[in-house]
Amino acid sequence: MREFFTTFVRRLAALFRRRRLEDDLDEELRSHLEMAVARNLGKGLSALDARREALRSFGGVEQTKETYRDQRGWPMIETTIADLRFGLRLLRRSPGFSILAILCLTLGIGANAAVFSWVEGILFRPYPAVTHQERLLALGGTALGEARGTPISWPDFLDLERSSTLFDAFFVTKIMGTTLSIGDRAEVTTGSIVSANYFDAIGVHPILGRGFVPGEDAGRNAHPVTVISYQLWKGRFKGDPQIIGKTQRLNNVVHTIVGVAPEGFYGTFVGWAMQFWVPASMEETFEAGGYKLEDRGARWIEAYVRLKPGVTPEQAQQEISAVAKRLESDFPDTNRGRGIKLWPLWQTPFNNAGTLLPTLETMLAVVVFVLLIACANVGNLLLVRSFARRHEMTVRLAIGAGRGRLLKQLFTEGLMLSAFGAVGGLLVAHWCRHALVVLFPARGGVAMHLPGEIDWRVLALSAGVCLVATLLLGLVPAIQTRKIDLAGALKSDLAGVVGGGGRAWVRSSLVVVQVSLSFVLLVGAGLLLESLEKIRNTSPGFSTRNVLDTAVNLVPAGYDAPRAQSFQDQLLDRVKALPGVEFAAFGRMTPLSYGSFSSTAIAVDGYQPPPEEQPTAEYNEVGPDYFATMGIPLLSGREFTRADDEKAALVAVVNQTMAAQYWRGKDPLGERVQVKGRWMQVVGVAKDSKYQSVRETPRPFFYVPLRQNFSRGAGLFIRTTLSPETMKTALAREVHALDGNLALYEVITLQEQVDRSTSPQRVAVTLVGVLGGLALLLAAIGLYGVMSYAVSESKRELGLRMALGAGAGNLLRLVLSRGLALTTGGMLLGMTVALGWARLLGNLLYKVSPRDPLAFGSALLIMTMAALAACLLPAWRAMRTDPARALRE
């Protein structure tokens, strides 16, 4: 061991003292020879013979030196350094080649690094300030017949926390919008309701003041305290150092500021930056639907757990499931058919991680394609150069370099290129790390936050990508050197023919691969674009034009039910009186918005459910004129009027699917449905529309009058031809006239709402489109390179053909047909791949077959056009060949 170490140190040292050691060696050997000569002279030999004899018995001096050097340092490192030097010189000598190659690689590696950093920053390490994210799991509920995760209730959460042993921490965080009033300004912003252990559990320590203390999440409205974000502190409070202890109205309740969160902490919700945190005891102030901390049936919280070190997610899930089973049997009324589930962070059901997952998966595949194309391009460039360097290689082989040595040099050169590319790529990734936010539409009052995270894992992956690129790059010329034959290499033949010649096959196949890969990307982009069009053109079941959507949240202003009702009535009257307004109505939830509709167990008169089935349906509470305003057609019956109030008989409107499912084709008008123990009479049947997502399949849904199920937080819908901006001014004026403390949410068209709900698709289309375009460009460059090289290599053939009477048209056709042959080959290959792989887009596709002929057709067309464009210049050059000169050369 020690021996190994001393050897290591000495050899390493030798690398740095080369010059001196070299002199030493010279002198030592010289003195040896001189001694030998002196001794031979002493034996009586002549001076000449003495020297000859000395040299003879020594052996080769230069060979000795060589072996000595190899033993002294590390020949590997030394030759590598030499290779690097040589490579650098080569790069400098042909800057055009170098820049093109490095740019291609920068694109390829940069696209990869950027997507890796997004995957890392959004899916795997979404909360930079939070400690031990690798042990965090998302905690949510499941329900029979519900594919997505559901929130869980506070009592269930407490029971879970109490009865589990495998966890370091359980913590709750529930996103909510709120009205923040500062001075006379009221603004809408986003914050979280959290359990008292929140800041301790995630290991984030406020820079000023404190986090929450145990017990602050218990007791109805007992602890009006808040921790504010660093941005809020710096922005609205101008970094006031005396901020702790000051008060702030949140939803019109005075809260004491007890802490300021550190910079760079944005809360624990993928996609949005939180501005403040309040303990769960203040739930009633921020959540619609009243006090829920003691209601096991009220499912509203989103939670995370941190596993103890060494506990696997499976063990944890087993323990959680056991507790959930017990809860189910202890509280059948609220928990029947309900489970509790753990999700890895990247599948978190309640934030944007889930929505972005398919997009990012697609992106990963796409960037790998782009990288392959870039590598193929650079490979092609290297190949051209390797033809030019054939002479050099031959000479090296001839004077005794081993093929391994040559390969090593080529790999070193490849490594240099990809290292430069990697550095450039990381810069690209660094610039792009916030680019994802730009692609998402801004929302009023919400700071979007989708950071890329460049950490060691991203760096390691990029290095891996770089290595793979190097191998691919080194491979191409390596294949070529294998074929160098020493004897024939002196002759350089420029007499190739277009499309002929054995060694062109490597370049041609590279181009075929490039064309096929970019063809796949084009098909993918086409499919996504078509789905987006389909989504945009799918009628959501309500009018998207001429309907504006906003909200006036009455909870913040502390309105009780009667006051809220009279406010809403007054506001509606005022709004309807505005010029240009056709209808206006309140509704609790906006379709296709982030929030989810309440779901409830129902019982239907005359419908006997099978024993395993618990009929459930989602519902919305809406005001009079809702259907007229939204443009949802009623198939029969009537909609709600002002007469459907607290004193009137309870009524409901069901949708088509619900009518079909529970009344089996019978007209449900006049029939009864039981919701939460209250029987309601069906007074209307509404056409199906989209509720949560444009891509959902029709599901049972019903509406109940706001007045009979009063909830104070409410969306306001206005049917008008006026623009949102005009309306906003008028509305703000009306709201302000009624109550100066109320804030109006942003005013947007329902079309905008639909567009926002499809943003993952749009991001995917944009990114795949951009990268597909890049790939096309790279492939076209590759094709151009191959064709122009083929033309320049076969000048003599072209000249000969011309001399024999071929017209310019023939030559044009010759070159173009060769280029198109390559393209066709590539497209055929690409088509096979695309047919097999397009289904991977599955989740992002909507009503578009993965084999859609339109997408394939247009990809075909675009690719052919690009190929023609790429071949045109070489073909033109071929046409202008001067036969006399070409033949003379």
Binding site: R2, E3, T6, T7, R10, R11, D24, L25, E27, E28, L29, S31, H32, E34, M35, A36, A38, R39, S57, F58, G59, G60, V61, Q63, T64, T67, Y68, D70, Q71, R72
Partner: protein, 97 residues
Amino acid sequence: MLVLKTLDAMGPLHGFGIAMRIQQVSLDLLQLNQGTLYPALLRLVQRGWIASQWGVSENNRRAKYYSLTRVGRKQLAEEAESWGRMSAMINRVLGTS
């Protein structure tokens, strides 16, 4: 081992001296190129068994002198012993068969 033994017997010596000595003791049976000695010497230096130092030779010439280190001495003893064991064993095997 030959080198170590030489240095052990003769004290510090330069490369030429070592080469001469080895030739001598092997009664010219070992006709190696003297040049191959140097990489071997370097290897021993790297392992820390011998040390080198510039000095002046008997006829006033600058030469590199090699000397045995403590580690080298130990190594020599070990190798001599194991060689002894080995050759004794081989002798026994050859003797009995």
